[in-house]
Symmetry: none
Subunit: 207 residues, 4 copies
DNA sequence: GATGAATGAGAATTCATTCAT
DNA sequence: GATGAATGAATTCTCATTCAT
């Protein structure tokens, strides 16, 4: 299920090439997420991907393009959509599902690109002067999370699990908190994760 | 009241000079807080202070020293301590006091240096590779907030206003959330501030 | 007499600064003229001007801006207009005046920026992908020469000194030849100049 | 007829291989002639030759070698000598022959490598810092044209078709003009070619 | 042979820092 | 003290050249 953007993996990219690009994009996502886009140097991406900086430019035209394609790739490849689908199938309550999402946001995994995209996208939401196409991509990716979570919040409010109030605004606060704290120090949050997730959920849950 | 660091030998600085330095340090705090330390350029500080960048170097030896002295100055001069003192005098409940602190953390004020220091310090808490003396200063400043807030949390827990659990860890989560979200986009939080503060407090409060 | 562009020397540029800029622009004109714009490296300009490359960027934002301002400066400062004015005052025949212009085109002088501009402008006339504002400037500068010489050619044709035929096209050929040969190796043309100028003039003159 | 340089040991190159090399050299000559040697990128040659850039390096060791061998090839293969032979056989007057040569210099043809070599060689005549062996080759190639044209000029002077004066110098001027203007914008000269050739010839002809 | 992946030296540009006035 | 001129190290990006497949 590809949602917002043209498919990346054109058939003409043979497997090898695609894997190389993905290797670089995964490295880029990690470094962008950890250091912020502006502070990320090409050399850091190259180092993380264990290739020369020249090779990065063999596959991408510019830093902006690395960013763009990496986010695109992250949205395609990652399991976010799958995750939400699974979530919606399950018989958990809305609040349980939001907890599940919160957990997932912090989860680190090498293939688990998903939350890196989330972090990058949230960082970029605040930045001015982005090239238009990137801005649009970021906006779309942001909307994706909002659209996926809004029904859960609405349902939770109807069932009395979640506090009343403007749903959109409430979700906005929750997402902003999530993305901000992930940006800062993900490792902090992974310690004692369950308990911290409970604390965060208290912001919106009725007890 | 100087807390953690060597005195600024201000006696030998004549008034004029001290005022100049302060003008620059106030500008630096603002720009550091808004843009992050690494992304702050000397020219931005100079512009904010309405002086030439050359003059900045007349008073400070390096960017690191600007940072160091500015934090130091912010801790000295600012009203944080006064604030906490007032808070402790008052007859509010601990939770009320924490709410007051939370409000304060977001408040913008040109003279109000206090929360800029808080923001900078929290940003730096996460950064690697800081010069030792800065790292130490940041750590001390961080501790200051912890030490000031711990009694409030303890008291709140005793009174049953605040949820049980490891106090230190609970405070840690709360401070981390606060500092992270301030780093990202202070203006977002200033809209509809009271309501957002309520939401944040729900993390720790018992209702 | 400023013709095509806004004045450069705003009063607020103090003398020192203006002189420095001019020093760099003169160097740039020389290097651009000798090596072509694309092959000119900032370091070459810096070296010719005997300054660091950093200083070049203190005065100019980019290579394109150096080019733009240098041409602008060359058109302002140089003696081209004065030259044409003098020429038109004089009692020479049109052909004599064209000979005078031809001589002038080859003349080298350190202050004599004029023919460097001529060369650069003619080089750029052929290049694609120039930024718009530069393209416009180049076009205007090119037109200047055409407009200044057209009356001489017309008059010469009327008087029977210059061969008949489409004046514009004839002038086009003459200017193209002049600029091309100056681009290649000015020093060659300076040897035995008078004789070579005679040869060139034979293209258009009736004997 | 090979003139200036060591044989290309073509006997041991099988036909296929030689054809491949020639394909690349023809492409190189075209691209060098159109863009100048320094501004020509290997990728441009590869693209023109419709091969990968890797293959270019399979047949040549370096850009310099491509240049060297291509000029060499152009001098060998092309029809210049044949052309001059034909010219000398014919019963035209010397001036007619020079006109013929001038026309030829501008003529574009995909197989017609001859004038590309002429252009490249003339461009390089002016460049400093060429590797020695290339410099020598360029010099020899230049001499070839001079040697071929000198008799025509001498004869023309004797017959009173061409103006008097130092023959060598007169030829030098004529060749310099030709090569310079070809370097700049060949397409300009192809429009209305005959008329422009007439104009150029006026430089040396007696009417 | 043929491709294009991979490397690294070099060029434009930014910015902390020093220095002359 | 105050300005901004001047420098050079670091960063993004280009391209000749080498190498694995």
């Amino acid at each position: 299920m590809k949602i917002y953007m043209a498919p990346l993996n054109e058939e003409q990219l043979d497997k090898k090439k695609r894997e190389r690009k993905e290797q670089i994009m995964r490295a880029a996502l990690k470094v962008f997420a950890d250091n912020g886009v502006k502070l990320t140097k090409i050399s850091m991406i190259a180092k993380e991907a264990k290739v020369s900086h020249g090779l990065v430019y063999h596959y991408f035209d510019s830093k902006d393009e690395i960013l763009y394609e990496s986010i695109e790739y992250g949205m395609q490849e990652n399991m976010v959509e799958q995750f939400f689908n699974d979530l919606n199938d399950s018989r958990r309550t809305p609040l349980e599902k939001i907890k599940q999402f919160t957990r997932f946001a912090f989860k680190e995994s090498d293939t688990g690109i998903s939350n890196m995209v989330f972090r990058i996208v949230q960082q970029l939401n605040v930045v001015n002067g982005l090239p238009d196409h990137i801005h649009e991509l970021v906006e779309n990716a942001g909307k994706f999370y909002i659209e996926a979570l809004t029904p859960l919040f609405l349902d939770g409010q109807k069932r009395g699990e979640i506090i009343q109030g403007d749903t959109e605004e409430l979700l906005g606060v929750y997402l902003t908190v999530l993305s901000s704290i992930m940006a800062d120090d993900p490792s902090f949050w992974r310690e004692n994760l369950e308990w911290k997730v409970e604390i965060l959920l208290r912001m919106i849950s009725i007890r």
